[in-house]
Structure formats: structure tokens, C-alpha cells
Amino acid sequence: MQMHINKFTKRPARDAAVENLLITSFRIATYLIVIAAGCIFVNITYNGAKAVFQAEAPFVNIGFLTQKPQTLHVYEPKAIFFEQNAVNKQIVALEQQSEALAYSKNSDKEILSIQEEIAGLKARNKMLEKARKSGRLLYSDSEYQKLEALPDPENYIYNNYAYSGGGIGPAIIGTCLLVIGSITIALLLGVLCAIFLSEYSRPGKTLQLVRLSILNLSGVPSIVFGLFGFGIFVLFFGWGVSLIAGWFTLAIMALPVIITASEESMRSIPKGFREGSLALGASEWTTIRTNVLPYALPGILTSSIMGIARVAGETAPIMFTAAFALRDQLPWQGLEKPSDFFFQGVMALPYHIYVVSSKIPQNEYTRNMQYGTAFVFLCIVGAFALSSILLRIRLRSKYRW
């Protein structure tokens, strides 16, 4: 068929195909990211929910959220334990046998029969595993101390695992304290700095230098902040491993984000508001206080959300400055004087995850603890971010232009 050519004739098929391909690749990239993020969240939620929630009322494992980490004392039924060991040994032996046979010819039949045997043993092992799990006795440290009579050593095998029992109460509290304190310091310093940069500073070499250093600060790896905090706050100021050293270290980390975003949101306030106010005889500070800051606040809060997300998740900066692997007392317990509150180390969720997953021998019980901690951690960061977003929405509806 003769193609009818006019001014608006469709583009050649190849051009259209290239464009479609491009669009598809954008789409795929977006979906990939969403899927990756979704997998992470679903995985943590699924595994973490096992530790945090329970089948019976009150459905939330309160002990996990409030207790401190403890050593887990495990008593396993002796008979089942030995039988399982024997079965496992048999499986290993048979597997070796089948591997050896694989090299000789005409042994297909034998291999098949061995594999059947292995399958049978594995099923048996599964049953034993179930029996072991229902028959075993688990005690956290505090429960263990209260036991009047230990289980009969004739019937049970005893083991204990560090950090696998109890909960993460002190770490939750520690993380909240760290986040609240460091965000307060960072917002205060950051907004003051942003006001100066956006309203008072005059363009020039110095300003460029200041901007450059702020930009560089945001690219510094977090472990460097940790070492810096350790050198300055912990050693030089003599604060020791303490809450306040952690606050300042994390605050300095969050500053670049907060300064840049706050400055940006202040700059985006229409010039007309400033001029209108100045023309009425307001001083520059009055103008900023009444006609710039209130309208920039939603943007500043958005930046603080980013700051929180960044600060709350960092392990490296608090490792040397604020975090204890295990602290027996809650932050407000056992203080000699009120100022001691600031000069004590705390437990923190990210550091706890780090310690549990890298510093102690792994076993079937630590996994629960790790996922549970990660899940609670996600929830806390989410809650902080959500409250920030809600506040921002409220402010934005109050000051709309």
C-alpha cells in the first residue's frame, strides 16, 4: 500500500522503536529499585515480626521490647539430641559414599538407592528437629537465676548463648535519645548557619570556601566522623564514651544535609515577602523571623527527616563515642548527679545489630535477635520520619502562598 505522506506523517518505525525502548528501560530501572527495596522490607518485616509479635495476647512480645539483652540458657532433651547427631553423621557418611561412587562406572543404581536412604534420613531429621524444638527449655538469664531446681542433667543437655535472650529495651531507648539529642543540636546549628548563608552573607571567595567545606563534609565517610568524635569529644574534651559525645558526633554528620536543604528552602521564599516587610520598616532579623523562617519551616523539616534517617542508622560514628555493647542500667538509673545523664554511654540499635551479628558466635537463636532488632529499628526510623512529615503537612496548610 502506498504510504500517504503529509506534514504529520508518523515518524519512521525505527525512531519510534528507539523511544519506546528508552521508556521501557526507564520503567524497568524504576521497578527494579522498587522491587529491591520491597524485598528488603518484606524480608526484615517477615523475619523480624517473629521476634516482635506473638500468637497469644497481647500479641506483642513486650519482653523483647523492654528487657535488656541476656544470655540464653538452653536445655535440650538428651535422647533426641543424640539421635539427631547420629542421623546427621549417617547422612554425611552416605553423602561421601555417593560422591565416591559417582567416579566409578555402572553405579547408577547404587547411587539411587543411597540417595533414597539420604532422603529418608533427612525426613527423620526434620521430625527430630520438631521434637527437639518442642521439648527444649529456654531460659533467659533472669529466669535462669530464679530457677529453683535445674532440669535433670540425666535427661537434658545444657548450653548457653550470649546476647540471644532477653530483649532490646535499652537499645531502643538509647537510639531514641541519640536521635532526639543529635537532631536538636543539628537543627539548631544548621538553621543558624543556613540563615547566615542565605540571608546575611555576601557572595565572595570566603562564602565559596564555606560552601565547599560543607559540601565536602557531606562526602566524608561515617567512620571518619567516628574517629573525629573520638579524638575531639571523647579524648580531648574528656567526655568519655558518652551520650553527649554521640550527640555532637552525629549532629556534625547530619549538618551538611540540614544546612544545604534549609538554605535552599529559605532561598525559595519569594523576594516579595522580604521586600514587603523591609519596606514597612522591619529590621532584617524581624523580616527573617516573621516572613522567611515560618514559610521555610516545612522545607527545613523535610531536611531534618533526611538528617534523622541518616543519623539514626549510623553505626560507625557511635561505635567509639557513645555506644556500649551491653549496659545493665537504663539511662536514668543509678545516676549520682543529674549531669551524669549526659556523660554515660548508651546502647543503640544499629550498634546492637553490629555486635550481635559480628562479635559473637552465630547460632540459631541470634538470628531472631538480629531480625527483631532490625525490624524495630526500621519502625523507629519510620515513626520519626512520619511525625516529621505530619508536622510539615500541618505547617504547610497553615502557611500557604
Binding site: 557572595p203 514587603g276 516587610s277 519596606a279 522591619a282 524581624t286 516573621t290 502557611y399 502562598w401
Partner: protein
């Protein structure tokens, strides 16, 4: 501010040179602006009329590397670029209305009260009084008296511009600077603002920058024509439009360029 003697111009500009960085914006401007008259500044874009207007209340201070090269401006006989001048006091004395109406995103009431609040006035009765007085002064009272607590952005563009005028009146200035106050308004709203200018001239000295020559002819008593940073002609409005002495002025007002 020293009290003004009779027949003395309220604003005196002498030999003023003004530059943004290396770009000269005004050269050798000398003019007197009379009290309780409307003075219009006209001229093509970029001729320096807005720059001159913003010199009067030192709004140019906000612009980096904008500076006066020579000459001086006296307002009520005080050199406003001299020593010991607080531009905050100056701006209370000289109100300004901008090209783009810029009410604050607050209520109508708060917009007017703002000028007093920043001076520390807290008394509700006084604020109420001033708000009504200013809105009446800007011929806006009847239109907004029932919606004082609504956002200033909910009223029409013309009303917003009159609100800005009312806001400027609240700090009781002697001089009102208007920077193309009607450029964003439709003819009906423009007519209202012009009517307002006529009323205000009884109490205030008004300097208005405009692109609209008909507007200058309608509202002003005296007109100054600027071209590329120079004051070409300055005299009674009727003379400028009917009988201009400079050929450039004649070409501009008759619409042959600009």
C-alpha cells in the same frame, strides 16, 4: 527628621550617579519632588526609573555591589545616605508598593497589622482601629470588612494591590513610592487604584513609576522622563505630554519609540 519648611521640596536629588557593579544605571540626576503631589517617572525599560525610586528608601542596599558614585539625596532636608541614618526609620517614613502585589500569606487583618506589630504594638483596640482606618484609606474596607480573618491571598489581584497600599499606610509614612503598581492589573482594577492615588495625594507625597503613559497623564502632577539613566525632561505633566521641550521626550510620549 527635621520639620519641613513650606515650599521646600520633600525629596531633593542632586548630581546623583548610581551603579550596579561596573554598570552605570543613573548619571547626573537632579530633581526636586514636591510635597503632596503625584510625581510620575516614565521612560522605556531599563532607563533607571525603578532604580531611582528604590534609592529613595534605600531598598538598593539589599542588592550586592549596588552603590552611589556621587551626589546625594535629601529627604525632608536630611541626607539619607549620610552618616547616622537608620534605614529602618527611613523606610517607616517612606512607604513602598511593589510592581507585583506581595501580600504576606497571612490574614488580611494581620497584613495591615504587621507594620505596627513589628514596632511592638500589642494593643488590640489600637490595631483594630488602624486596620479599619488603613483599609478605608485604601478604599478596600467595604469589600473586605467581613473577611478580615481570611487569607490575603484569597482576594483578587486588584484588591491585593490595594491591600499592599493599605499595609504601607499603616506605618504612617509621609511619602509613598509606587513601582508600576498597576502593571499586573486589569483596566477596572487599575481605575480603582488610580482613583485611590487621587485620594491619597491629599495626605501623602506620591512617586509613581509607570510604563503606561496614559496613566502618568491621568494621575500625576509632574512627570519626569528618563532615558538610558539620564533625566531628559522634568516638568508639569501637561507640559510633558502637550508641549515637550526635548525631541526625545516628544518621540516617546507620542509613541514613536520605547
Amino acid at each position: 527628621m527635621t520639620p519641613k519648611t513650606a515650599h521646600h521640596p520633600i525629596i531633593q536629588v542632586r548630581d546623583l550617579d548610581f551603579a550596579y557593579g561596573d554598570t552605570k544605571a543613573l548619571s547626573n540626576i537632579s530633581m526636586d519632588i514636591e510635597e503632596k503631589k503625584v510625581t510620575a517617572l516614565i521612560g522605556p525599560s531599563g532607563c533607571g526609573k525603578t532604580t531611582l525610586l528604590r534609592c529613595f528608601n534605600r531598598m538598593n542596599d539589599l542588592i550586592d555591589n549596588a552603590r552611589i558614585l556621587k551626589g546625594h539625596i535629601k529627604v525632608s532636608n536630611v541626607d539619607i545616605y549620610g552618616e547616622n541614618i537608620d534605614e529602618i526609620e527611613l523606610r517607616k517614613y517612606i512607604g513602598m508598593v511593589f510592581q507585583k502585589s506581595n501580600p504576606f500569606p497571612k490574614t488580611i487583618y494581620e497584613n495591615i497589622a504587621y507594620g505596627l506589630r513589628i514596632q511592638g504594638v500589642r494593643k488590640k483596640t489600637l490595631l483594630d482601629e488602624v486596620v479599619e482606618e488603613c483599609l478605608r484609606g485604601a478604599a478596600l474596607w467595604n469589600e473586605v470588612k467581613d473577611r478580615l480573618s481570611e487569607s490575603a491571598l484569597s482576594i483578587s489581584g486588584g484588591q491585593q494591590q490595594r491591600l499592599c497600599i493599605a499595609r504601607a499606610l499603616a506605618v504612617k509614612p509621609k511619602i509613598l513610592l509606587m513601582d508600576e503598581p498597576c502593571s499586573a492589573l486589569d483596566p477596572i482594577a487599575t481605575a480603582k487604584v488610580e482613583e485611590l492615588i487621587h485620594q491619597l495625594k491629599k495626605d501623602y507625597t506620591i512617586v509613581i513609576v509607570t510604563h503606561n503613559m496614559q496613566q502618568a497623564a491621568r494621575v500625576s502632577d509632574k512627570t519626569a522622563f528618563f532615558y538610558v539613566g539620564e533625566l531628559i525632561e522634568y516638568s508639569k505633566t501637561d507640559d510633558i505630554f502637550m508641549n515637550p521641550s526635548d525631541p526625545q521626550t516628544e518621540a516617546y510620549v507620542s509613541g514613536r519609540f520605547g
